[in-house]
């Protein structure tokens, strides 16, 4: 557990002081903890002990303290390994009551590769500062109802503290008792509060032991000198004054109070056990949200290739002409060999999704000098201008086939890679380059040579958008350079002609409008915009799912019902084609799940 447990004391002379402090220490170098069981100190831990002790602030050498052995931990006195290396600096003259151990104790947990060290004060200055604040607050600021008991306080900046204050009887002290507290310090508030039910009984057990011992000592002292008890009878101010000189001797140490020389050893063992047990009581797991639709599709594709029929060097094939007759891409029949073939094509852009926004094109094996200027969607927007960009993207999101005619294959590739972020992963099938026309059910992004003839039926019936990218002049090619500074120059070297036979609806789909806003907002960095896109897509994919379930599971639905549903999910008329298209991009997993569950009905 990443916590520090310490014993604090309100000293009659010096105020709040940290007496004893146990913390976990993770060794920097792994694998130095082999061997060494049963408390026999082998070479490696000894070194560690030595390095520890050098960092310790407490100075003088302990007189060879017998090592206690815990279950899986071995306690050794640090002093055994720390000679002369420690500089002789005594920070402050402390009274007996403020002193605990001169150097400290260390325990090694061989299984977990952890060390627990106990010293008077934490030796790392930052920790020391915080601990001291925690200590002062525990004893002198925070008020616990009933003066004894556990309280919690703290903040994320200074750390969170569970503090248990208690009194230990001392016949010589003012008020016949002295104030102590055990402080559990942790940066993680949730963890600490969740450990409360465990920690508080633990601390109370320890406190009870201390108190019982001290009570016993006090009872003995009372027996020895009964006049100390009924001081009230002899309580004349004069008597008190005479006594004062005697009474003024420094406060007694905890060892003396409890009559146990090994009290700090006991505390060490108790604290170490508490730390270890509390740590294994709760383990933290990072809970991630459910995977996005895109990542499910990624996973499905991943599996398909790993089942993998043919491992193809995809990049090569992409550069070359594809086989003319690629079987249909159908997400619902992923087992056919040809389909996996196809999927490998899709996999190329998928594998570099991480770097998509930053430089999808850059990660492609394209020679440096030919690096195309398009890397993110904003570039496309700049190149096309707002109006053309609007038309293009609107066609993209409703699933119209985008045919790009361009002699420069790399440019087409980067163009598609940039546009890809507009669509859910399941919806985009890209053929970067083909000599022939490919049917729109095979791909919605198609790269072609400029002179490819479109079949008649397409021109007459299909929804598609033809983009011709024509380089303006030869010399601009030479100045091609992907530097952002002269990006604008590069954009001007191409002309984009958009031929769209199909008229678009007046209004953009809602999601696209939001995407446009994000793209135009210069305050959003590329990363942020990318994340925003992911969220938008996920949001709309959820609506798509609802719609899918609605249409598939329920059977016949009237127009009215559909309209109502659309209203509920917040979709408008102009979103309909988009929803319809995105439905094709749902993961196989989801489809089969929905279909199966609807069949059961």
């Amino acid at each position: 557990m990443n916590a520090i447990i310490s014993l604090c004391h309100f000293c009659e002379v010096h105020g709040p002081k940290i007496l004893f402090c146990t913390q976990t220490l993770r060794p920097q170098e792994p694998g130095d903890s082999e061997g060494d069981e049963n408390g026999a100190v082998s070479a490696a831990p000894r070194e560690r002990v030595a390095s520890l002790s050098e960092r310790l602030k407490s100075v003088s050498l302990a007189q060879g303290c017998a090592s206690t052995t815990g279950e899986s931990t071995s306690t050794t006195n640090i002093a055994s390994a720390s000679h002369a290396s420690v500089p002789k600096v005594i920070p402050k003259v402390l009274c007996e009551g403020c002193k605990s151990v001169k150097t400290g104790y260390v325990s090694h947990d061989e299984e977990a590769h952890l060390s627990y060290i106990s010293t008077q004060q934490p030796h790392i200055p930052q920790i020391f500062t915080r601990m001291r604040q925690a200590c002062i607050r525990s004893l002198s600021c925070e008020v616990c109802p009933g003066q004894e008991g556990p309280i919690f306080y703290g903040d994320d900046q200074n750390g969170n503290v569970l503090s248990h204050t208690f009194h230990i009887p001392d016949i010589q002290a003012r008020g016949r008792q002295r104030l102590y507290s055990i402080v559990v310090f942790m940066m993680d508030r949730i963890y600490l509060l969740n450990s409360w039910p465990f920690l508080v009984p633990q601390l109370q057990t320890t406190i009870e032991i201390l108190r019982k011992k001290a009570q016993k000592v006090m009872d003995e002292e009372v027996d020895k000198m009964p006049q100390a008890v009924n001081r009230t009878s002899s309580l004349e101010p004069r008597n008190f004054l005479k006594k004062k000189g005697v009474n003024n001797k420094p406060a007694r140490s905890l060892e003396e109070l409890t009559g146990d020389k090994d009290i700090f050893k006991m505390l060490h063992v108790a604290f170490v056990w508490t730390l270890k047990a509390c740590g294994s009581r709760l383990t933290e797991t990072l809970l991630e949200g459910p995977p996005t639709e895109d990542s499910i599709i990624d996973m499905e594709n991943q599996e398909e290739t790993e089942e993998g029929f043919i491992k193809i060097n995809t990049k090569k094939i992409l550069e070359e002409a594809r086989p003319s007759s690629t079987p249909a891409e159908d997400l619902q029949s992923p087992t056919s060999q040809s389909d996996s073939y196809h999927n490998t094509f899709r996999k190329v852009p998928l594998t570099d999704t991480e770097t998509e926004a930053e430089g999808a094109a850059a990660s492609e094996p394209i020679p440096e000098e030919e690096k195309p200027p398009i890397r993110i969607l904003r570039h496309v927007m700049k190149m096309l201008g707002n109006e053309k960009f609007r038309i293009l993207t609107q066609h993209v999101v409703i699933g119209d086939q985008i045919i790009v005619c361009c002699p420069d294959k790399d440019l087409v590739r980067s163009f598609f890679n940039a546009l890809k972020v507009l669509l859910p992963r399941g919806c985009c099938s890209i053929i970067y380059h083909s000599d022939f026309y490919e049917e729109s059910w095979k791909c919605n992004f198609l790269g072609q040579k400029p002179d490819t003839v479109l079949p008649d039926h397409l021109v007459s019936a299909e929804r598609f958008l033809l983009v011709e990218i024509v380089p303006l002049s030869e010399q601009t090619f030479n100045s091609l350079d992907s530097d952002l500074s002269d990006m604008d120059e590069d954009f001007k070297s191409y002309e984009f002609r958009i031929i769209n036979p199909v008229p678009l609806s007046e209004r953009m789909p809602t999601v696209l409008a939001k995407m446009h806003l994000a793209l135009r907002n210069e305050n959003l960095t590329e990363k942020v915009a990318e994340q925003f896109f992911v969220c938008l897509k996920e949001e709309w994919m959820n609506k798509v799912k609802v719609l899918f379930k609605f249409t598939k599971a329920g059977g016949g639905r009237s127009e009215d019902e559909t309209l109502k549903l659309l209203q509920v999910v917040g979709a408008r008329e102009e979103d309909k084609p988009l929803l319809k298209f995105w439905m094709t991009g749902l993961s196989v997993q989801y489809r089969t799940h929905i279909l199966a569950s609807s069949k059961q009905r």
Binding site: Q133, L139, C141, F240
Partner: protein, 379 residues
Amino acid sequence: MSYGDDENGGFAVAGSFPKGFGYGPDDTETEQPADSPEDKPRILLMGLRRSGKSSIQKVVFHKVSPNETLFLESTNKIVKDDISNSSFVQFQVWDIPGQIDFFDPTFDSDMIFGGCGALIFVIDAQDDYIEALARLQMAVTRAYKINPNIKFEVFIHKVDGLSDDNKIETQRDIHQRSTDDLAEAGMETVHLSFHLTSIYDHSIFEAFSKVVQKLIPQLPTLENLLNILISNSGIEKAFLFDVMSKIYIATDSSPVDMQCYELCCDMIDVVMDMSSIYGARDDGAFDGNSSSIIKLNTNNVLYMREVNRHLALVCILREDSFDRQGLIDYNFMCFKKAIQQVFDVRKQVASTNNSDGRAAMATSHNLLHHNGSVEGAAS
């Protein structure tokens, strides 16, 4: 002694946590969060450890017997006492542990000393006070920087163990050294008041009275009223007491004789004890109509009249002056009315002390007129 040389991050200071927590069993817990500093001036008790701060607080405000203070634990946090018995006497007493240096950047010293009316520095006269003087000088200079309006009071405490000569010598020595120290620090303008105190006699109450009086803006008005009262009623000495703490919040302008004060304190104790034993109510039958007369064999009479539940007027007068008790009673009624008017003015314009004073002066003239006519009729 101090700690926190290397502490940088500030954290919530002692006074900043929720009021609901309370300050231990003996706290009055009547703090209202909306209290503005000028409504409740703070009196800070500072000093070295074991100098007797907590004892003073306990004896004066909690009626703890002085002998029992020997068994007090060392104070580990600021202990706040809220004294809001009457409209005049409203302040907080903060007992500050001597072990902790609250000028340390760790603590919000502005918050502690900002709303502070008076700083009482307690010095143990039976101990070696050199260290205490160094602390005094430090506390005064720093607190003055934060809040120049603080009144500084030095209690030379535990003087019951010293002989009379020794007391005078100690006071002189402490006075000399501390003013020298302050002059050295360039703080000649700061005025320190010195009081010899002990919890075993009434000196601590007297000293505390003087401290509290400095925090009462209406003090001149009250003194004036008392002067008028005693001159017209043949009273030798009159005190206006806060009954609970036996602090007198005002007296007439004749010098205070310690024995008179002790007599009056004892009388209050007697009356309070009697009323709590034989009173009809559980909380003691002490209210605005109580009065008590004690005749001493020295031909003196102690006469006590309640002004309200928390304030009482205690007078000492010659037996023969007491023959005309009706006149005294009538004058007292006038006095009571006048005090009531001062309260009302305070309630109306709590913020402006100026108008307070003017209205009170008007009532005192009123009183004088009444007295004159009555006196004339009687003689």
